[in-house]
């Protein structure tokens, strides 16, 4: 007789599902602040660095 249990295949999706909120937050922050941050870094480099 075999006792059927949940085979646990869906568990592989768990890390992705758990990371989704963090990835969404990162994407939102990158879209919202990314261009401004890149511009700021560019200005700082140009101001503080000698050729």
């Amino acid at each position: 007789m075999s006792i059927k249990k949940k085979n646990g295949k869906g568990v592989w999706a768990a890390p992705l599902l758990l990371a989704l909120p963090l990835l969404a937050l990162l994407a939102a922050a990158a879209i919202r602040y990314g261009p401004a941050l890149v511009r700021l870094i560019n200005v700082m480099i140009k101001a503080a660095v000698t050729a």
Partner: protein, 283 residues
């Protein structure tokens, strides 16, 4: 309800692990500059600097009229190592005291001697003045390769930033964050283990998922950082800074990849163990 709490703890564990990895990579990049007399220059960086110095001294030789060979020999090897050590000390002062340190310089007297012994310089009417001017120009050019920053701007920026925040305390805090994040991660993993104390496989499901989520987050942050395109900006602004940045970036990429791989391996191990124990049993 218990499952919801366990997943919330796993989510927090993922954040703590990702925070540990990212701050650890930052710490390892910054730490050498805060300890003792600063970081020792990487040999690859030094040889790339030597190549750049060779180009610049050759250009200056054309401009001032001296033989580049002896000057290049004089500023390579030990002199460059010593100059890199002084530049590291300059960064050390910036990172630990929040102000620009003493600008490094070559032994100008030695450079002048080398230039005066050059027949091209010696045959000039005012060889002393030419040697003096050329030595200063070579010194300025070489120092710019090793420390390609405008000190006045950096000092002003540090002073202004220092009025708003305590930079030294902040740096001290940032260096300690990885260990705090790791301690928090261990605490959260312990809580999950306590909650699932009856079933080891259940506990591994949450911890493994958190490790996988942290690995994905770390990789995502690394990809975003790569997409920001800081390297081309630095390359345009200063070739010598690009050389130094490459040395730091290689270490950061390797550490990030290593930590993400460890987390991913932990995730696969935990979830495989969990799945095996959840597979149908035959009796």
């Amino acid at each position: 309800m218990k499952k919801v709490v366990a997943w919330v703890l796993a989510f927090l564990l993922a954040i703590a692990l990702a925070l540990f990895c990212l701050t650890f990579v930052f710490r390892q990049a910054v730490l050498p500059g805060t300890v003792g007399k600063g970081a020792k220059a990487n040999s690859q960086v030094v040889s790339a600097e030597q190549e750049l110095i060779r180009e610049r001294v050759t250009e200056l030789a054309g401009l001032y009229g001296f033989t580049p060979g002896p000057v290049i020999d004089a500023v390579s090897g030990e002199a460059l190592d010593e100059l890199n050590a002084k530049a590291a000390l300059w960064w050390n002062t910036v990172l630990t005291e929040g102000k620009a340190g003493t600008r490094p310089k070559l032994d100008i007297g030695m450079l002048r001697e080398v230039l005066l012994s050059d027949p091209l310089v010696a045959k000039n009417e005012d060889s002393e003045a030419l040697a003096e001017t050329a030595a200063d120009a070579v010194n300025e050019s070489v120092v710019r390769v090793v420390l390609p920053v405008r000190q006045e701007i950096v000092s002003y920026g540090m002073r202004k930033a220092g009025q708003k925040i305590d930079l030294i305390d902040m740096m001290d805090f940032l260096i300690r964050v990885p260990w705090a994040a790791l301690a928090l991660a261990l605490l959260l993993a312990g809580l999950i283990a306590l909650m699932e104390s009856r079933r080891l496989s259940g506990c591994l499901k949450y911890i493994g998922s958190a490790m996988g989520a942290a690995a994905l987050t770390v990789v995502a942050v690394a990809v975003l950082a790569a997409l920001a395109g800081v390297r081309p900006m630095i390359q345009v602004a200063s070739r010598s800074l690009a050389i130094q940045y490459d040395g730091i970036r290689t270490g950061m990429v390797l550490r990030t990849a290593g930590l993400a791989a460890v987390l991913a391996a932990g995730c696969v191990l935990c979830l495989t163990f969990h799945r095996r124990s959840a597979e149908p049993n035959e009796s």
